[in-house]
């Protein structure tokens, strides 16, 4: 082709190539989402085997890893989240002489949104990434293939216990986050804003509704399922050695964060509008 035409062709070809690339990304995303949902469905069906002693002990290990081992970081984050919320809203409300209402503000924000949201982010970053790294390492060292060849279904053996642990532990940890966050807010209220702790608690319990708590816990439950699905799928589909494990871990955190934000918004919209 003559040189100037070549340039023009390349210029005209750019949008086509961009669309092709975009199309491929969308197709791959749909393919991955479909496979992840199939994995989730398969693992959910295996929950019926949970009462056998060996499966029970595998689930117990995952409950421990997800719940107890995350308590440290959750304690610190929850406490400071409540403190920051109280301080920010308190300083604003003080301008109107309404600082006594920080109890309601902190409690409603914590149990509706910040509790499940912060817990979800922490668990995605700590437990989710660890699951992806562990399963990813197993995949690249052929341990997953070994399980399949032995007719031990990885969805039953590996995914289901993690799914159950995250779905159960997320709401429990969220309750813990909520309590600590509200307590942290109370301490800031009494020490920095001159709101007596008892007044803070009275105010906090007066206006918060049960619905807020239930919706928050439902969110936490859904986030648990999202984190387990994303982490297990990314881990099990890891290829290309150590680089692949790194990629799976990073993808798990990014996708989980995005899903938590998007699904969190959708649930809020569903229940409050």
């Amino acid at each position: 082709m003559i040189a100037p035409f070549k340039e023009i062709y390349r210029y005209l070809d750019l949008p086509v190539r961009s669309f092709r690339r975009l199309g491929r990304i969308i197709l791959l995303a749909c393919h991955d989402m479909g496979n992840a949902l199939i994995m989730l469905f398969s693992a959910t069906l295996y929950i019926r085997t949970i009462w056998t002693p060996r499966t029970r002990s595998r689930v117990a290990v995952q409950l421990y890893v997800t719940g107890i081992k995350s308590l440290g970081v959750i304690t610190v984050v929850a406490f400071f989240t409540g403190m920051i919320l109280a301080l920010q809203t308190g300083l604003e409300l003080r301008r109107y002489g309404q600082e006594v209402n920080i109890g309601t503000a902190v409690t409603v924000v914590m149990i509706r949104e910040m509790g499940p949201f912060m817990t979800g982010l922490i668990i995605a970053a700590s437990v989710g990434s660890a699951i992806a790294a562990q399963l990813g390492t197993m995949a690249v060292s052929e341990e997953i293939a070994a399980l399949e060849v032995m007719s031990i279904n990885p969805n039953r053996f590996l995914v289901m216990p993690r799914l159950v642990a995250l779905a159960v532990m997320m709401p429990i940890l969220t309750v813990y986050t909520n309590i600590l966050g509200i307590l942290g807010g109370g301490i800031v209220g009494s020490t920095q804003l001159g709101v007596a702790f008892q007044a803070y608690i009275d105010n906090a319990t007066r206006y918060a509704e049960n619905k807020d708590l239930y919706v928050g816990l439902f969110k936490a439950f859904v986030f648990g399922i999202i984190i387990a699905t994303v982490a297990c799928y990314q881990g099990l589909s890891t290829t290309e050695g150590a680089v692949g494990v790194g990629r799976a871990t990073r993808q798990t955190v990014i996708i989980s964060f995005l899903m938590i934000l998007i699904i969190g918004y959708m649930i809020t919209r569903l229940f409050y509008i």
């Binding site: 060996r54 060292s141 052929e142 399949e148 060849v149 032995m150 031990i152």
Partner: protein, 256 residues
């Protein structure tokens, strides 16, 4: 026992297997050799449907594994034991738990029976003393022996070995060869071995097949394999200091 019928496979747009056909009779140790990327491991993975062929059929006796799904696939896979290249032991389980895993997950055997069976297999491979050790604390050779114990714990009809001697010192390699040979002689197990190691292939193989670029370039008994006039085979033999003119006699005593 095993029949590959015109099996083709493309991976990433590249033809990895091109209409390959071969048979492995019952009780034989069938060795597949070739350069890296020739299609050896891909062939092995097709045997247990870790990969599905684009075209062609793979039969295990009367079972067509290339078309099997669900419970049927699980049943056919139980006819196999597989020793993976890196042993593929679960790192959070001890040696005993790794070997006991298929028994615990797939059978209704009591703990007492499981312990007896596992001990027996580990004894066969001289690994009974390391029963409570985690895989990370074992050498490569020991891990492979545990992997082999796990592969035989369900008394399979067929064992697949993916590079059983790679990364091992020569003495341990010959020990693994000896174990493979013993399994064939004593238990009549059919084996398919993928290896780069021609010394090992000649020692244990009852038949050797060479793959190059996804096609079979030679499929012969060891004594005929080293006499092959195929250039690719000759180059491969010479690369490991085995020549047509050199004296070579089948027998483990030369290698152990």
């Amino acid at each position: 026992m095993i029949t590959f019928d015109k099996v083709s496979k493309q991976l990433g747009g590249k033809t990895v297997l091109n209409e390959i056909s071969f048979e492995v009779p019952k009780g034989e140790t069938f060795v597949i050799v070739g350069l890296s990327g020739a299609g050896k491991s891909v062939t092995l993975k097709h045997l247990v449907q870790l990969l599905v062929p684009d075209s062609g059929t793979i039969r295990i006796g009367d079972d067509i594994i290339s078309e099997a799904r669900g419970k049927e696939l699980e049943r056919i896979r139980r006819r196999f034991g597989v020793l993976f290249q890196g042993a593929a032991l679960l790192q959070w389980l001890t040696v005993f738990e790794n070997v006991a895993l298929p028994l615990r997950e797939l059978t209704k055997m009591s703990e007492k029976e499981i312990e007896k069976t596992v001990r027996e297999k580990l004894r066969l491979l001289n690994m009974e003393e390391s029963m409570n050790v985690f895989p990370a604390d074992l050498s490569g050779g020991m891990q492979k022996r545990v992997g082999l114990a796990r592969a035989i714990v369900m008394d399979p009809e067929i064992i697949l070995y993916d590079e059983p001697t790679s990364g091992l010192d020569p003495v341990t390699s010959r020990l693994i060869d000896q174990l493979i040979e013993n399994l064939r002689k004593e238990l009549g197990i059919t084996s398919v071995v993928v290896t780069h190691d021609l010394h090992s292939a000649l020692a244990i193989g009852t038949r050797i097949m060479m793959i190059d670029g996804g096609t079979i370039v030679e499929n012969a008994a060891p004594q005929d394999f080293i006499k092959s006039t195929n250039e690719t085979v000759q180059r491969f033999l010479e690369s490991q200091y085995i020549t047509r003119r050199g004296a070579w006699e089948k027998g483990m005593e030369h290698h152990v």
